[in-house]
Amino acid sequence: MSALASNRKTDIGPPHYEQFLPPIIKKNYGKWKYHENPRPGVLVHVAESGDKLYTVRAATPRLASTKTIRLFADLADEFCGGHLRYTSRNNVEFLLTDETKIDALIEKLAAAGYPVGGTGASITNIVHTQGWIHCHSAASDASGVVKAVMDELYPHFVNMDLPAKVRIAFACCLNMCGAVHCSDIAILAVHRRAPKIDHQAMARVCEIPTTVSSCPTGAIRPATVDGHQSVEVIEEQCMFCANCYTVCPAMTLNDAEYDGISIWVGGKVSQARSEPKFSKLAIPYIPNNPPRWPEVVEAIKNIVEVYAANARKYERMGEWIDRIGWPRFFEVADIEFTKYHIDDFTHAGETFRRSVHFPRIG
């Protein structure tokens, strides 16, 4: 033990990135001149030196077996001198210096089930969370919804046929691991029932004051139930955020019947043209329908197709909607507007229309 402890390394931090960079990048670091996107999934970056770096971008399901990582490593050896990188949206990128090898690499990736695309005015990989694979508060599965949606939107991954890029993200609860709230389309799983409290376990597994203060709406208060020290939830005040569940395992939110999926549209993070925006509610609730969530897939496909048919070149989803106005969006997308679409939290008033600038009625 002491030998082990004395050799034990801590706080070494991540390895320095430089040791993993291909020679062409080391040579041209900070000296790139321009890039082009000659076809879907392929980028060429040209350096001031004249050197050319070809990037081949392939989709991965984010969840990866080590066997797949080994496959990518083998492909990197065969085609790229052993170098590759991943993107922030869970794609893998092979970095080539020999243009003539691109086709062979794309073929091998396709044969192994990893399509190449996701550049330019396309739909790239869906950033997503853990879902039923691994998380306690998931109101839906993440990987399954993403797989079903991308099977349908696949033509927009391998082609650059949209007015602008469409960034889709998925989160399985309001914690929103990932940039879901600023996506062209955000798929957000929601709980709709107040927590079920295990009064017996409460005092043993949770700190009651912490649990009470975890609630953003003040819906939880201490209570003695059947002689147990516990809490009670004022149900009208609960908006099903699962915050209490994250600090206290005795307050489960998961519900087979009432959990499901909401869809939000029109957010962006890039500063190009318009400022970054939050996504706004389009569809408040679609029930969970595993294994392939056909209603969710259909709803998203509809929004993408309506956008593709109506937006101008370079217009992101939110920019298009801002131009035509939300009333027209609900009309052309054929989505019902309900009381749930009207904000009622802290800054709700700022979202009420205080002008007569809306598209004509009828």
Partner: protein, 400 residues
């Protein structure tokens, strides 16, 4: 040990279709009993329409408070091999570049100690090892450090900083995002590994306003590359875009400039750079002809977060222009001022953005020693409820 292969008719339906299948990934590693049981639990969730995981219980490696997230199955009798199924976050190399050799090393470690299932990568940017039993945490950690890797952040600490590939492959990078990210990650190892903040604190570094790592939405501190001189313009290359028909310069470029600061007289593109807000649109459309200026740095913004607890926020401007010269001393000092002040006065699980909303940006700036500037707001206040501090005003008058 022999394990019966789990029957999974529901999730098998997610093997079909053109998109890469996570179920196929799980099956590739199903010779591992943990992954075999994971397939079983997942099938059960698809059947029950509910997750079967519990969190809680402090687990980790010796001396660290973060980097491991405890996870347990709520059906341990049925799925004993995933009764403990913790997540390990491993701090990725900046920019997510790898060699095949180092990837194989990572795979060797994870096949030896865990499920063989990973996320490449998790939301914070870390390499994720999904499914480690408590007893294997320390041996996994030891093999990882031997291979040159360390854990990332979790809980109320500095989370693993991440960045775009910046100067490694992008002509628009206005500073060295990877160099910066590596530097601060090493500088604040203690803050990364030992949670001592009111809540999490994320850094994300994007080389230009395209913000490829979504820093403005996802990071408490967003570092977005920018410039303060004129856009570099190559008129011959502009003309080529126009004559080749690749770009409709009036419609696609001039017409989409948010500040209407560009004009085209049929031959020459003129940019009134004083009015440009450096949104990147024209540069994105004509990368061969236009480029960010030469006097480069970054805008530092603060406070983004997802909805939990007080509602979602985007980061807002804190330093309009910072030169981003290593070793970034002023910035590091400012960050520590922020941590001290928020650490002392922030409530438990209050992100720094929410803290600022509560105490007011004006007060916050005063406390961390920054002067207010008009870049920090969309417009000045409209409400007249001003909390004048008369004593200070009088002092100033006396000094005059």
């Amino acid at each position: 040990m022999t394990t019966n292969k789990r029957e999974t008719p529901l999730i098998d339906q997610l093997e079909k279709g053109p998109w890469p299948s996570f179920v196929k990934e799980l099956k590739k590693s199903a010779d591992n009993p943990m992954t075999n049981d994971l397939l079983g639990v997942l099938e059960r969730s698809y059947n029950d329409r509910i997750g079967h995981w519990k969190h809680g219980g402090l687990v980790g490696v010796m001396g660290y408070g973060g980097g491991v997230i405890g996870r347990y199955c709520d059906l341990p009798e049925e799925f004993p091999n995933v009764a403990h199924f913790h997540t390990m976050r491993i701090n990725h190399p900046a920019g997510w570049f790898y060699t095949s050799d180092v990837l194989r090393k990572i795979c060797d470690i994870w096949e030896k100690h865990g499920s063989g299932i990973t996320n490449m990568h998790g939301s914070t940017g870390d390499i994720i090892f999904l499914g480690c039993v408590t007893d294997e945490l320390e041996p996994t950690f030891s093999d990882l450090t031997e291979a040159g890797f360390d854990l990332g952040g979790s809980g109320s600490d500095m989370r693993t900083p991440s960045c775009c590939c910046g100067m490694a492959r992008c002509e628009w990078a206005c500073y060295d995002t990877m160099g910066f990210t590596y530097d601060i990650t090493q500088h604040w190892q203690d803050e990364l590994h030992r949670p001592a903040f009111p809540y999490k604190y994320k850094f994300k570094a994007s080389g230009c306003p395209n913000d490829c790592v979504a820093s403005i939405a996802r990071a408490d501190m967003s570092i977005i590359g920018t410039w303060r001189d004129d856009i570099q313009q190559d008129d011959a290359a502009v003309a080529e875009y126009v004559t080749s028909g690749a770009v409709d310069i009036v419609e696609d470029v001039v017409g989409r400039c948010p500040t209407q600061c560009m004009s085209w007289d049929g031959e020459k593109l003129t940019i009134n750079n004083r009015d440009c807000v450096r949104c990147m649109h024209c540069i994105n459309v004509m990368p061969k002809a236009l480029a960010p200026g030469k006097d480069r740095g970054a805008t530092i913004l603060l406070g983004a977060k997802a909805p939990i607890i007080g509602g979602a926020l985007l980061s807002s401007v804190l330093i309009p222009f910072y030169e981003m010269e290593p070793p970034y001393e002023d910035l590091k000092e400012l960050v520590e001022e922020i941590w001290d002040f928020w650490g002392e006065h922030g409530k438990n699980r209050e992100r720094v953005g929410e803290f600022i909303q509560r105490i007011g940006l004006g007060n916050f700036l005063e406390q961390i020693g920054l002067e207010p500037t008009p870049e920090m707001v969309v417009h000045p206040r409209t409400n007249p409820y001003i909390f004048f501090e008369l004593d200070e005003d009088e002092d100033e008058e006396e000094e005059d």
